[in-house]
Amino acid sequence: MINKAGSPLLEEENIQPDTRHGVILYVEDVSVSFDGFKALNDLSLYINDGELRCLIGANGAGKTTLMDVITGKTRPDVGKVSFGQQVNLLDMDEAQIARAGIGRKFQKPTVFEMLTVFENLELSLAGDKGIWTNLFHKLSGEQKDEIDKILQTIGLQKERFMLAGALSHGQKQWLEIGMLLAAKPRLLLVDEPVAGMTAQETERTAELLTSLAGEHSVVVVEHDMAFVRSIARKVTVLHQGSVLAEGSMSEIQTNPEVVRVYLGEDQGAA
């Protein structure tokens, strides 16, 4: 079972998504089921180049499964997922998708605890991810500047030589976002960035994410409605594995379907 990039010695061509139609991610008619349970049900979603999109939905609505499908962790039963118009993500594995320019932040902050903040970013930099090049790799001046810039963006300059394991919860979340940025992705998938953060940290995160949109396309999954309201221009509501509604926050809040699902059928029944 050797795939295209099976050998660590082979270099890969640089994959660039074709976004001439202004859309960076196409998810079309995707279904995923686990032992008969339909986690995603005929779901279609388009993310525009440079936009900041929020995904909301109750537990089990399929948000994380959707992320898994996009990043190659889960294979859909049917459907089409492509990065730009041509790059078919379903043919690629996690590492290839990451190198193509899709970064993912996990729900739980995941950083390399036994490495310093600086080293965490160093490993995440875009570039050759093969064994032999990294065995003899030396950081160039430009790469150091790049890391400095990212440290500034995420506000961790003072902590650069600290072990990542010693950071606070919020700082770890920012470091993880910084690691995504270091890879120079076109699309960022961010899963619950403000879970467990203080109000101040949440505010900083909101600023950070809004500043990233434009240069990158950002998809944020979040439960915290106040946070979603503060950053979102466009919101997609997932329900039972498919898209229930899409639009601005005020449109969503007045959408009868959403109101019915969120406030419960019992209202109608009563």
């Binding site: 990451a98 993912r104 995941t110 390399f112 490993l123 995440s124 990294n134």
Partner: protein, 384 residues
């Protein structure tokens, strides 16, 4: 200026010069005292001791190999004895062929055990075994190939943790059973022994023993330098990152399975070299070396010495092996209990092993000194 540059050197190379220096001094001391002083002299080091030290250094190299995969990459291999034994068998086959017609049956072509089994000719996999160069190749290729096949299958299917450890254990156990069979053509139960000479030099002579010992020290130093280079490269940081969070590594674009296979193969080759140096000094290789117990002992060396510290692994192997020599001389049956007890104690009291203990004590000492000086300053301020 000079102390400054020494400090810089230490920053750059860490424990490397210290370890290499210690190895060099020990080797020099042991060789001179063995060869230059006669047996009656107080400074004489017996050939028995030289061989014993050589054995310890082989173990130290093996511990380094285990530490590289376990301490840095988080792969707990309970089957590294298999790579050690394969390297040993490659060397043993060569030494067997060097006996020539001096064996009990006087057959110039076949080793004694094959004559005993009424074999007519050498099996195909013994081809080339009389060549020194082929032997060196097999010492690296045998363990390396096994590690590559095993690693590719296990890591590609994303087997990890306890399951992987059990599989490595099963691998070495299966090999042990296979090598016990006479039909395998590796001397069965008795293994390979009765070696006479290597490259024409008698294995019984003191000079050969000293040379073998010095070579072992050299390989240990080179192995240490190699591991040091690997773990301090960016590649080494990727490996450490895999240990901490494999999925994050995958999602920033690396292929963890490639890195794991690579490091596993390098480690297996180091273990193979250790086995190859072990056999001519000890004089025998048999299937007992594949026993799972041996592989577990290696892990204990590293745990006691300090997982994730290269010099710690060496210290662990030396300390435990020395303790074993001493202990088994006094109370052979109690050794396993002592080893188990030592393991429990270290896990409870020194979670980072001996190598983690020393710096923490130094830090405490420094802290105490700092506190004291601050207290003195305050006291002085109060007085004034």
């Amino acid at each position: 200026m000079i102390p400054q540059s020494i400090q810089d050197l230490f920053k750059k190379f860490g424990s490397l010069p210290v370890v290499v220096g210690c190895l060099f001094i020990t080797t020099l001391y042991v060789s001179v005292c063995n060869l230059a002083f006669s047996e009656g002299s107080a400074l004489h080091v017996s050939t028995y001791t030289v061989t014993l030290f050589g054995k310890y250094l082989c173990y130290a190299l093996l511990a380094l190999a285990v530490d590289l995969v376990w301490g840095y990459c988080g792969i707990l291999s309970l089957g590294h004895g298999a790579f050690f034994a394969l390297g040993g068998y490659a060397m043993g086959m060569y030494l067997m062929r060097q006996i020539g017609d001096r064996g009990v049956y006087g057959n110039p072509e076949l080793p004694d055990f094959m004559v005993f089994l009424n074999w007519e000719s050498l099996p195909w996999y013994w081809a080339g075994s009389d060549s020194f160069i082929w032997m060196i190749f097999m010492v690296l290729a045998g363990p390396g190939l096994l590690a590559y096949i095993f690693g590719s299958m296990a890591f590609r299917s994303r087997v990890s943790g306890v399951y992987l450890s059990i599989m490595t254990q099963a691998m070495t156990y299966a090999l042990m059973l296979a090598f016990f069979r006479n039909e395998m053509g590796f001397g069965g139960n008795n293994g390979l022994t009765d070696f006479k000479d290597i490259l024409g030099f008698s294995l019984q002579s003191d000079t050969t023993r000293i040379v073998l010992f010095a070579l072992t020290a050299l390989f240990l130093a080179l192995g240490f330098a190699l591991c040091h280079f690997i773990v301090n490269s960016k590649m080494g940081r990727v490996v450490t990152a895999i240990r901490d969070s494999e999925s994050r590594v995958r999602f920033i674009g690396y292929k963890p399975e490639h890195y794991k296979v690579w490091i596993f193969v390098v480690s297996a080759m180091l273990a193979g070299i250790a086995g190859a140096m072990y056999v001519p000094q000890v004089g025998i290789i048999n299937p007992g070396e594949f026993s799972p117990l041996n592989s577990i002992e290696m892990v204990i060396w590293v745990a006691i010495g300090g997982r994730g510290s290269l010099y710690g692994a060496i210290i662990g192997a030396l300390v435990v092996s020395y303790a074993k020599t001493r202990f088994t001389a006094i109370m052979p049956e109690a050794w396993l209990y002592a080893l188990g007890g030592l393991f429990v104690l270290v896990t409870l009291l020194l979670p980072k092993g001996i190598a983690g203990f020393v710096p923490s004590v130094l830090d405490k000492f420094k802290q105490a000194k700092k506190d004291k000086s601050i207290a003195e300053k305050r006291a002085a301020e109060v007085k004034s």
